[in-house]
Symmetry: C2
Subunit: 287 residues, 2 copies
């Protein structure tokens, strides 16, 4: 059976034709411009490919409420051309297939749980730390949705005692994203993250915020594994700092062999999939 998949990202749309085993046969990358420019190119690629269903992992916020009448519609976003664009409806109409949409981070979590670093567990969380901070999760075998999709990057965090940075989130100021995403790092220290490797305080502060977030995710969602991706996590030394902070903050409260100092490095891990994670996860939505 042929299935379609789209990773609808902020800079590019990755479109692929695959099958129910997660195999990808053909792929194309289309730049993200206005919908009137990008979407016709998407439709051209999929035309006459014989796909039966389409999975889409999209940038957001996007309406995922299947009962509301605006399922798969992009909501308010800084990409003004896309505000209110009915992504799922437009694809369904133009390609005449059923469409399942989810967030890019939920799809990444799904992808890791099916083909990446969380195939051995039932519940996992994927967090990306880059220009923004977003996280998705797989719970009871399905991606996590409810009222809307989660916005885990915007939880509150407690300030590091040596940090006086006001925070960079336009909605909340010093929420997690406002304190720990790439732009916050750059605004706080006056340089991009990649140029900051020499100062241990930079990473101590960063790990302090990210570990707090992970601890809250553990208390609230209880994932069996946490996968951390995104540009900031390219600083691989951050992993051990975060792991140590998480163990310290939990203070032995959650009884699990996975959360001991010996095993935490198999609990908080890097992604197992690289380039194709997004588009494979989108495919996973319709398998």
């Amino acid at each position: 059976m042929k299935l379609g998949a789209i990773e609808a990202g902020g800079t590019k749309f990755v479109c692929a034709v695959g099958d129910e085993h997660g195999e990808i046969f053909e792929k194309v990358v289309i730049p993200t411009e206005a919908p009137t420019i990008t979407m016709p190119k998407v439709y051209e690629f999929f035309e006459n490919k014989g796909i039966e269903r389409m999975g889409v992992g999209s940038f957001g916020p996007i309406d995922l409420n299947e009962k509301g009448g605006t399922y798969g519609r992009i909501q308010k976003t800084p990409k003004i051309d896309w505000v209110d664009f009915p992504l799922a409806e437009d694809i369904a109409k133009n390609l005449n297939v059923p469409v399942v949409v989810d967030t890019d981070v939920n799809v990444a979590a799904l992808s890791e749980s099916r083909w990446g670093n969380a195939t051995d567990v039932d519940a996992c969380l994927y967090i990306t730390v880059g220009t923004g901070i977003g996280a998705g999760a797989v719970v009871n075998g399905q991606t996590l949705k409810g009222l809307s999709h989660p916005e885990m990057g915007h939880i509150g965090v407690r300030r590091h005692e040596k940090d006086s940075f006001a925070g960079a989130c336009p909605y909340h100021g010093d929420c997690l994203e406002g304190m720990a995403a790439g732009p916050a790092l750059e605004a706080r220290w006056g340089k991009a993250g990649v140029e900051l490797t020499e100062d241990p305080l930079v990473w101590e502060v960063e790990a302090h915020y990210l570990a707090q977030a992970l601890v809250n995710y553990i208390y609230i969602l209880s994932p069996e594994r946490i996968i951390m991706g995104g540009g900031v996590m390219q600083q691989a030394h951050l992993f051990d700092l975060i792991r140590k902070n998480v163990v310290d903050m939990l203070n032995g409260y959650v009884s699990s062999p996975r959360l001991t100092p010996e095993n935490i490095n198999e609990y908080i891990v890097a992604p197992g999939l690289t380039d194709e994670a997004g588009v494979k996860g989108a495919l996973g939505l319709v398998i």
Copy 2:
């Protein structure tokens, strides 16, 4: 079909015989003493009742990992007689029925979603604010579990600017439970919650902490309704304070008609079930 249900609480065990429609035919209340005293009375009640399955909503922490070999075993708890007691295994052996165990708060969420104030939604969260703070959730039609059960009462919160209380949680000091459970109220103000009604600052501080928790739950879990129970929430005026704080803290970030100032009073609500919530929810585990 006859089904058994046990609400295993810190002060009492409520045992009931019911059916697959949630109807309860017979009920008994047994004080929680040591397992050697309490459990024989439980077994005596269920003997010869012809039950085919047993659902148990238990105090915790309790092991819910079905793959680990110690499913349904009580973990470390201040009730030292119960530490390591194999609750599920002991019931299964003595009554010769399959046993499904979950936390008291997950079971309360399940109960509200089936018969209480969340029957019209798919994802809900139940939080109890009393001697401790605990929360459970129903996601994709099932109670929320993963690595372990959630421990949502222990998330980090940001201090109210007029509050210098150190916090009362033995594990984390000033986590949510350490700042906002009944004992924290009493330790901070020198009087039990029920005697504190005259001072607005008491409730402003309390609402500040509880609203932060709700906002984090919304960002991480995206429940379609939040139900607040427990002794502290008997102060009914707290509801409006919490609702107002939640709307202010979200600052319009999550697009949902349920989170507007007009609708928030139908989003954050009191429980719909009273006395039988726990035991009915336990029954719900095996329906």
